[in-house]
Symmetry: C2
Subunit: 260 residues, 2 copies
Amino acid sequence: MSGQYSQPALDRGSPLPLWAQLLGRLHERLNRGEFAERFPTDLELMSDYGVSRQTVRDAVRRLADEGLIQRERGRGTTVRPRTFEQAAGTLESLFEYVEAAGHEQTSATREARLCTDARVAAILGLPSAEPLVYIDRLRLVDREPLALDRSWLPARIAEALLEIDLARTGIYVELVARCGVKLRSGSERLRPVIPPAPDRRALGLPANQAALSVSRLTRGTGGPVEWRESLVRGDRWTIVVELTPTTRTSASLPWAPFAA
Amino acid sequence: MSGQYSQPALDRGSPLPLWAQLLGRLHERLNRGEFAERFPTDLELMSDYGVSRQTVRDAVRRLADEGLIQRERGRGTTVRPRTFEQAAGTLESLFEYVEAAGHEQTSATREARLCTDARVAAILGLPSAEPLVYIDRLRLVDREPLALDRSWLPARIAEALLEIDLARTGIYVELVARCGVKLRSGSERLRPVIPPAPDRRALGLPANQAALSVSRLTRGTGGPVEWRESLVRGDRWTIVVELTPTTRTSASLPWAPFAA
DNA sequence: TTGGCTGTATTGTCCGGACATTAGTACCTA
DNA sequence: TAGGTACTAATGTCCGGACAATACAGCCAA
């Protein structure tokens, strides 16, 4: 610790370039929420760490490239919010494309109630008798069913959702705004399925057509906040994968083994 | 034209920064194949365009960020080949994951012959009676069928494939190496389907399971070179979509309407 | 012929300086 | 109160310089 700067000095004997060391420091400080109020200016970082402006710019540029901050001439550098506001996944994407194509997307809530479910509780890391909010919606495009959408959420955080008309708003929006949940991440698994007869009927899916099953776990800062199972009828929309000659690219989709 | 440099001078009165102008110039020259033999050094670009090394580096760095070139200390800058060598798509991704998980992937050619097909010819932009090479393979993991894979290629460019054991090599590799095709791009469409009974039997797919259909058009420099239809059984592997809090992200999959 | 050393070439890092562009704030005048 | 001007702050651009790290080629000695 040099005592000369307001931050511990970088190691000039390290094989790691100064900009890389500074980048690591800034990552740590970002992750600790140290820049929640304000990100330092180039000049401040220069004096804080005892390096040239070029070195500061090389480090900070990489933070900007990662989307963690935004730099604007005249205004300075701001931290970009890390909230996962829309938690957009496969289904949200679909509806974006649907609406971009000029169609009307609506939803009808078929069920919204408290329940217990040992299978889902286990997925959410909860005791098997833990109360859950269960929401079952039919998603429609131009009044035709496109997807069936079922969510299970811990009642202790999401009970307020039962009082809301979810045909008019989204689960994630309300989870954030009303239940004070901070969404962090999610993961989805996609596979083709033959839906059971009641679901097939609800979707209006012909007997010779399959559906895409999208299972999703959504996580908040405090742990899992939602298990969701959706069925998208397979005879209306298709997923597109473009393959382009950018080097090394493979626009590849990740795969994992399916365990039934 | 200043006559002072070996390239037309950049416009110092333009609102566009010098690095951006230089980047545009280098893009054009790359696209024209002007650097096929050798990419110029920083020093050469400095004197060619009359700018500082910093400006050269700012422009060239962005080419590297795009993956079009590669810079190596001591060696210089090389152009990355633009060939679309592996033409990796959804299925190739799948097999990468399969093999990364320690499984053995093999394939068995069920048919390889000349044919005509008016539907596929239309897709490839060919006359309906144009001869096509038809290749039908079963793809296996640890000797269990995982996917059915059918390709149609114009015979006038791909006839040599009929003489090759495609269990031991890939269509694209041979298309490039033996048929002299330059692959440029591709696009795939994914949807869940109930396969016809012969395909279901070939895959060993239980009656209550669906398959993922992957239809793909592969393009070469001279136009479409392959139409491909694959079926992946839906009870073994699943596509994964991770949703992370990188700002602005939506790890969204693109969708398009399905026309049967 | 092979291995080691030296010299040259090339990109990467870091420093310093200066000016341009943009944004925001404060102050003044109509 | 609204509009205009001046000033300050902050990032972007561009220049120049110097040294470090890496690669490669050539040359020499064993």
